[in-house]
Symmetry: C2
Subunit: 145 residues, 2 copies
């Protein structure tokens, strides 16, 4: 697996072990991970720290010039908030582990010129299938359903 | 002034006094404020706690049924991330202090069925004019420029 998607998946797996929503993300600049994170709904009672926003938060304040050379890797197709975060910072490339369990705002990203790559990675798919079967109410809460 | 916009402005003014980006927001359900907040870029080194996401975060985990009866008040037209947060949670109404200093994703919100109200409030406008003149680099960082 792509090492950056692997790192995002490790974040997701950590979230699963913590009893949380198992979605992970990393913000990548060149060959370096600037920030990594996973959904914090359960762990921190957070409504806004999804995997992608957590990775951005953990990367700290970065200059616009850096974001514009970054890729955002996430294990699951990004929701409107997280897609919007990518647009806010002009992140040019979003790499998505899978979109079978949830289809986020890929079309919006594409329409704004972001390169969107969907890997349909079996490990990413399986982890979400397991989680959604185990905790459907938590999952629904996370996506506002 | 609308008391909820006033509360958002008070958050923005607190952010200004703290040396931060002076944008404030409140999440309102019926006649009650569920959460309030202001941009935390300077105060907490945050890349994702804008006014609106901070208000959502401070409101804590809410059921989808509550968000769908809420209004999100913000002193400034919401950026893609914060507009996306409103879409994620199905918040049906966004009340905006002003959009003269920054025009966010109002069209996207409108196209998805969100009621968008822009008040062009002089106090909201003046606070941002002052801030942008004083700290243009901080402002540009906040909007990814």
């Amino acid at each position: 697996m792509d090492p950056f998607l692997q790192a995002a998946l490790e974040e997701a797996e950590e979230g699963y072990r913590e009893g949380g929503v198992p979605i992970g993300a990393v913000l990548v600049h060149g060959d370096r991970i600037l920030g990594r994170g996973h959904n914090q709904r359960v762990q921190r009672g957070s409504a806004v720290l999804h995997a992608e926003t957590a990775a951005l938060e953990n990367a700290g304040r970065q200059p616009a010039s850096v974001y514009r050379e970054c890729a955002l890797y996430t294990t699951l197709s990004p929701c409107p908030m997280c897609s919007g975060a990518a647009l806010l910072y002009g992140i040019p490339r979003v790499v998505i582990g899978e979109n079978r369990n949830f289809l986020g705002e890929e079309e919006l990203l594409h329409s704004r010129g972001v390169t969107v790559e969907v890997r349909q990675d079996p490990a990413c798919i399986d982890l979400m299938v397991r989680f959604i079967a185990e905790k459907p109410e938590l999952w629904n809460e996370d996506i506002g359903v």
